[in-house]
Amino acid sequence: MPTAAETVEKVVSGDIRSVARLIREIDDGVPAVRDVLKALYPHTGTAYVVGITGAPGVGKSTLVDQMISHLRAKDKTVGVLAVDPTSPFSGGAILGDRVRMQRHSMDDGVFIRSMATRGHFGGLTQSTRSAIDVLDAMGKDYVIVETVGVGQDEVDVVRSAHTTVICVIPGMGDDIQAIKAGILEVGDIFLINKADREGSDKTMSDLRLMIDMDQKKYEDGTWKPPILKAEAVFDRGVDELIEEIVRHAEYLRSVYGDLRFRARKDKVREELAEMVKARLLDTVVGRIIASGEFDAAVDGIVRGQVDPYTASDDLVLPKIVVPDDE
């Protein structure tokens, strides 16, 4: 087992095996990984993180594949994290995003990694955030995170991006309604893929309307999400997307003065809250489950001996020290 310092040195030098192993350990929640991440932290902060999200089948992987080509043509190195859902029935997953990106597999300037959402307690955001740090520390100029935009977890993942691209296709009337209910707010750029299909103008005007309803928000010069059309599979519209991402980066720089994610109080607050939560879950919940108290409480509730409110109080309260004056 290499020491944290050795791992950090290898990751920073771009050693593929060490990077791959570290991401696996992050995903598996290996405790020793925290020391590595602590030591790796000073090497992070230079990558520009782009989130791509949208419903299944809108062409996210194909789009990411084209973005890689365009960024590589500008001599930028690229890391990709492709997040796919875990089957809730078996706990397994088929991670197929590489299929669309296979032409980049021999390019040393590109690192593609699949991740399954797994079932862990809201830990997806944290493990993805840590994996972004690893790709950042290995020196990638851009890190693209691709998720299926269906659940809160996935939305939270793209919140750790500098620029979030929401991908839709024509004819997704009701799905756009669904976007409105929570994903719209995180979109910095909207992209209508497969724009050669019928209904792309309608989709465009639907999106425009939704964004314009927030007109007040943009009056003081805040970023107003552009809506682009693309046919990623034919490499149409991808250049424009990259241009808008760069424009958004300039906007962020002008507002915050610094592109580092951790130089922004709002982002840090979000992240730290997540980390504190995860740490509490790890330690307190882990201990409760390991001690068998949790299963005992489940049995108690099933047998009707106790109600779930009392049971959860009994499980948690003895584990935390509450000051007298509360």
């Binding site: 593929i16 095996r17 791959a20 192993r21 991401i23 696996r24 350990e25 995903d27 598996d28 290996v30 875990t86 089957s87 029935f89 078996s90 706990g91 397994g92 997953a93 088929i94 991670l95 197929g96 590489r98 299929v99 669309r100 296979q102 597999s105 021999m106 690192f111 593609i112 990694r113 699949s114 399954a116």
Partner: protein, 127 residues
């Protein structure tokens, strides 16, 4: 990782295998068609997989399968185990095994047998 090396466009079998493993609780990376051995090695390393399952129905397995094993060796990744499956003549199997392919499954192998073999023979580096 389930991978299709070489010029072989038939991936029904590979997809069924991928699904069977997912249903048994594995995380399966599917590589897609027409991969060179080098691409498979590179992908397996980036994904840090425990096992590569190669599928070939086009007769080039005697070249392609050992090439993956060699590629892993060159990249210092021999801890990633390789198994194979597909249309593979009986007499080729011992040769493949001596080239480092740990097991070969031919048509008719029940999915449970393959999954159980992997569960019993592949130690997860993660656990």
């Amino acid at each position: 990782m389930v991978a299709k090396p070489g010029l072989d466009g038939h991936d029904r079998g590979a997809r069924i295998i991928a699904r069977a493993f997912r249903d048994a609780g594995f995380e399966v990376v599917y590589s897609g068609l027409h991969q060179t051995p080098e691409e498979i090695v590179q992908g397996a390393i980036q994904e840090d997989v425990d096992l590569i399952g190669l599928s070939s129905l086009a007769g080039a397995h005697m070249y392609l399968f050992p090439a993956v094993v060699e590629g892993l060796k060159e990249r210092n990744a021999s801890d990633i185990m390789v198994i194979g499956g597909g249309i593979i003549p009986e007499e080729d199997i011992p040769k493949l095994k001596s080239a480092g392919i740990r097991e070969v499954f031919t048509p008719g192998s029940p999915l449970e047998v393959i999954v159980t073999w992997v569960q019993n023979n592949v130690p997860s580096k993660g656990a």
